[in-house]
């Protein structure tokens, strides 16, 4: 194999493409974790986002309607997580797993009901790559950024907005306070439950959007279990990035890179072995890369009101 500039550029472009869904989901996880709610339901929120985006696009013929339905259903699944955990005090890991199992059971069911197909849906209109001529002409940057669709730029904007929100706004400060010390937050008059609901719902919207990217950004259809554990990887990226959107960005690009190496290795090694790579990297990160980090001190704590 000869390493050419072209190959490197195509890997970098692919790295960015593969990091977008991870970035969106892990950034959503920041909001959830910062409000003190475990973000283990990202996988299910993402999967439902992916499915309902295709459904919305199928029914309306418009990708933006698809995007909206995907985001909304990500939030509906998040709402279930919030109700179970915040109101009914179900352990956050369990209620997160419930969301994931629910999405895994419900999406093939609905796929069958709506499209009359199993395994995958019919094709729908999706987000095309915009044809920006002037950008494609720029050396280096052109081949990397020219192939990205609008959702890529939206996610980058969301990193900045989320960071400013969490670290430079009064509301963000309060959200983090609820996550660190719910008793104190409650004592100064904050509605702890409302903040937790907010954090979880935002995580649902972001993870849903991550799912939209998978089904309408990278493809134009829904495939059963198309998230394939990306939601769990996002949980790890979120911890790796210290529950900070900027950290999510770095972590997602790191994972996206290993994910994109698959395309090269595919022709040299059996596909099953190559497909193990991102999961092995995740395990290594869990074992060796999360030292010194800690989750917000109030995670899983409830406040009687």
């Amino acid at each position: 194999m000869t390493i050419t500039l072209e190959l490197i550029l195509s890997i970098l472009a692919s790295t960015l493409r593969r990091s977008v869904p991870l970035l969106l989901a892990s950034m959503g996880g920041c909001f959830s974790m910062r409000s003190g709610v475990v973000d283990l339901g990202l996988e299910g929120m993402m999967l439902s986002g992916a499915f309902f985006a295709v459904l919305g696009s199928h029914v309306s013929g418009n990708v933006w309607v698809g995007l909206l339905t995907g985001v909304i259903f990500g939030m509906i699944f998040a709402l279930l997580h919030a109700v179970l955990h915040v109101n009914y005090k179900v352990n956050g890991s369990i209620s997160g797993m419930v969301i994931n199992l629910m999405a895994a059971a419900l999406t093939p069911l609905l796929l069958n009901e709506v499209f009359g197909m199993s395994g995958k849906s019919s094709t729908v209109s999706n987000f095309n790559t915009p044809n920006i001529e002037w950008l494609k002409g720029v050396p280096f940057i052109g081949p990397i950024l020219g192939g990205q669709n609008i959702l890529f730029y939206i996610s980058i904007a969301l990193v900045i907005i989320s960071w400013i929100f969490l670290y430079r706004s009064k509301f963000g400060l309060r959200l983090r306070m609820v996550g660190e010390n719910p008793e104190a937050a409650s004592a100064v008059g904050l509605n702890v439950k409302a903040y937790k609901y907010f954090g979880v719902l935002v995580s649902g919207a972001y993870a849903g959007l991550g799912g939209v990217y998978l089904s309408l950004g990278q493809m134009n259809l829904f495939v059963e279990n198309m998230t394939a554990g990306r939601g769990y990887i996002a949980v790890v990226i979120n911890a790796f990035g210290r529950y900070n959107p900027a950290g999510s960005l770095i972590g997602s690009i790191f994972f996206g890179f290993f994910d994109s190496l698959q395309t090269i290795f595919q022709s040299y090694f059996p596909s099953q072995l190559v497909m193990m790579t991102p999961y092995i990297v995740t395990v290594l990160i869990i074992l060796f890369g999360l030292k010194g980090g800690r989750s917000p001190a109030g995670t899983g704590k409830h406040v009687e009101s």
Partner: protein, 368 residues
């Protein structure tokens, strides 16, 4: 060592029996909505599902054989949950156990039947136990999240065994990913010919009894109980909680591994790629339904097995999908995990029936 706080629904048997019963009823009721959307009568469908499973020999045998792997994974989840660890890795442990059993079954020759079967089961037990044990060690000593670790390992194990079944271990003539057929000496006898019901059923019942015995009647069982209920108190009392957690979690993985062996030695006679339609995750639901009692797993897995067998058969002639059972299983977890939710649903039901009775009374009065 940090252990997540988990409130167990009180293990007092009467209380949990009611919770489980209501959880199942509510889940079945919500399942009716799915059947309605599919365009069938819910009552007729449930009649067909339970009728097939309970009134025909073939149906009941299918129910039991569907329930067998669920019993293994249900016991696995219940056991780990006793030390408040969540074993979402049963799926992966199932696969590695199945592969280990298949390797022994295919490549170890010249052993008498009982020894061959035992060796294959042992291989599955040990491999499932090691995989889970490594996770538990990471959990105890680095505080890693065991849920994510096991879920990632699931993917790794499933891909790796799939590589083996599609590559080095694949019979030349085979079109799908699988190993060679295991030798006859490694096969578990079938209880009813022409069905998939094997003596693995007795094995899993024995496992349930042994584990229940360990939990209730031994010092180690007591240590498990204290560790799970109050980690601090256990440490103060001089219990080596790290050791207890690691052994318990390993044992949990070992039981799931046995479940994989049961599928290979009894049902498929070889490792077949993708042999499990999510048995590992179904175990969560079954353990919850059994209030995390290993012996209780047997009847609750049987209930889900009955539902599965009936739905599989019904899905062949109608458009009611098998995933209906998956959904019902998730709903069961929700209702068991949130007893207050169940209570509020009961309250709504009560007030509704109350209203209904009130409205109905004058009508009754006129008739009499």
């Amino acid at each position: 060592m940090k252990t997540p706080k988990i409130k167990l629904p009180s293990i007092r048997s009467r209380n949990s029996l009611v919770t489980s019963f209501l959880a199942l009823i509510f889940s079945l009721l919500l399942g009716m909505v799915v059947i309605l959307i599919s365009g069938y009568s819910p009552i007729e469908s449930y009649k067909a599902i339970f009728g097939f499973s309970l009134s025909t020999v073939k149906g009941f045998a299918l129910s039991l054989s569907q329930a067998t792997p669920l019993m293994f994974t249900g016991i696995a989840f219940a056991l780990a949950y006793r030390v408040r660890l969540i074993n979402t890795g049963a799926e992966g442990q199932l696969f590695i156990g199945a592969m280990a059993a298949a390797l022994v079954g295919v490549y170890v020759h010249n052993l008498p039947g009982l020894a061959h079967v035992s060796l294959a089961l042992l291989a599955a037990f040990v491999s499932g136990g090691i995989v889970a044990g490594l996770v538990a060690i990471a959990r105890v000593y680095t505080g890693s999240n065991e849920i994510i670790l096991t879920l990632m390992l699931n993917q790794i194990i499933i891909f790796f065994t799939s590589y083996l079944a599609n590559g080095p271990l694949k019979p030349p003539s085979s079109g799908v990913g699988q190993t060679e057929r295991i030798l006859e000496s490694a096969q578990l006898p079938r209880l009813i010919p022409q069905t998939q019901l094997t003596s693995a059923l007795f094995l899993v019942i024995a496992v349930a009894i042994i584990i229940q015995f360990i939990l209730d009647k031994t010092v180690f069982g007591y240590e498990i109980k204290v560790t799970g209920q109050n980690l601090r108190a256990a440490q103060v009392a001089g219990i080596n909680t790290s050791r207890v957690s690691i052994i318990t979690f390993s044992l949990s993985g070992a039981v799931a591994g046995l479940g994989g062996a049961a599928m290979v030695l009894g049902v498929n006679y070889r490792f077949v790629e993708g042999f499990s339609p999510g048995y590992g995750f179904a175990g969560i639901s079954i353990a919850a339904l059994a209030a995390y009692s290993p012996l209780g797993v047997i009847p609750s897995a049987l209930l889900i097995g009955i539902l599965r067998a009936g739905t599989i058969t019904l899905s062949r002639t109608t458009s009611i999908p098998v995933e209906l059972v998956d959904l019902i299983q998730v709903l069961v977890i929700i209702f068991v995990a949130a007893p207050k939710l169940t209570q509020s649903v009961v309250k709504i039901f009560n007030s509704l029936t109350h209203k209904f009775l009130k409205n109905a009374e004058p009508v009754g009065g006129e008739n009499s």
